[in-house]
Amino acid sequence: MILGGTRDSRLLVYITALIALVLSLLPVPQLLSILWPNLLVLVVLYWSTMAPLAGGMLLGFLAGLTLDVLGGGQLGQHAFALSLLTYLALKLHLLTRSKPLFEQSMFVFIALLLYEATLWAIDGFGGHGTGNWMRWLHVPVDALLWPVVVGVLGRLHSPR
């Protein structure tokens, strides 16, 4: 399948994003929830890198807004952070998508550090609790999970 800006590909993008959202919000035991990956952010990063026309800025913003409404914290917090991430991914997609998976994971690691740092800063400005070191723990997990995300989502749309 060729992913352009067509309606079919948009549908695929939003369906995968919705599945990722449900998975990332699943109620899990407390110990596990510290390490629970932020799958929605990974999926948004994937589509922004591999098919920048299908999702685009709108996907990032909407995904962030959904996280805001469901997750709590300040309204617009995740929307801002994820918009920023989507923008960077779209800008750099030609650079990153041709790199080997390991290197892509490094990019993902840096991107998620930036994401979490943005949230952390907004929490601080807004007078909410900024949590402790444990809030950063999902970042390496996300980076390690990137090859899996690429494997699964790549199968969905590449003519392999």
Partner: protein, 349 residues
Amino acid sequence: MAFAGGGLNSPSARENAPGGRFFFCALLSLLLMYFDQRDGWGQHLRYALQAVAYPIQVAVGSPGRLAGAAAEMFRTRASLRTENDALQKQVRDLTLRTQTFQALQQENAHLRGLAAMPPPLVSKSLLVDVVDADLGPYRQRLVINHGDRAGLYRSQAVVDAGGLAGQLVRVGPWSAEVMLITDPEAAVPVQVLRSGERTIAVGTGKTRELELPDLPVTTDVKVGDLIVTSGLGGVFPAGIPVGEVIDNKRDPDTLTAHVRIRLSAQLDRSRQLLALWFNAANPAAPMSHAMLDTLPAPSIADPVTQPPAPAKPAAAAAATKPAPPARKILPGVGPHGGVLAPAPKEPPQ
């Protein structure tokens, strides 16, 4: 590249430069953050978004509830029977206790010189189902299946079968979010039942524990003490059980006590909660939410310094004499059995 299709070629991608859109999205998010901090129409937006989010929350919470329902279905007759027996025994015990409780309440009213017994504290309650749980270390929240349409309001107190659960922080049309007392941002004004010592319990992000920070080493707290709400702060009424002291360490260097409480409520297990409405005529009731909304911050004023009736004797006299009928009863003096706090230690100015 496997991905290199016609629509993905770089020229077309370059046409859709994301810069302008990013600027727009970022601006919109910043505006959202700004208005969310203020209590204006940011609240209305929240209200609408809460309604949109409700189906997703139900979907996300459903695997856990399905598992629970399945377990329920396959329970044996024997286990149901033992549970039934236990419940019947509990009902008998509680009936007995209620009878003595009513006699005590009557006697209490008589001792205080009140002409009549105060009306029951809880005027109405609503059983609500938990549809989604967020019990992480940074947030301890539950989503329940009723909202504005059922009359629930912001800052309403919610309990479970064991004790205090939390308060409503966001209310949508058909759902509401409960901030549990274990949430790291939550704080409950509490009282040690045995000694009457008042302090504040804060959430730690652990679902079964609270902490009492900022206590001096001289505090009269022991392991096993029951902790109840003190009724200060205007959200929770007095005398609702919060938990039991399980750990009590004194630090001689900083002259502080580290006290941990195990919750009475089983927040990680309860699938149903009770939202409560209080009788404003009962002295233990918190302020009405209409009053709370007009206040800039929850007021922790001593009611003795704010005479409810004009014909009130001097405050110092009120602290020593038996209470005259018109006097507002001190916070913490609840109608719950045995929750009788001593009068404030220092007479107010």
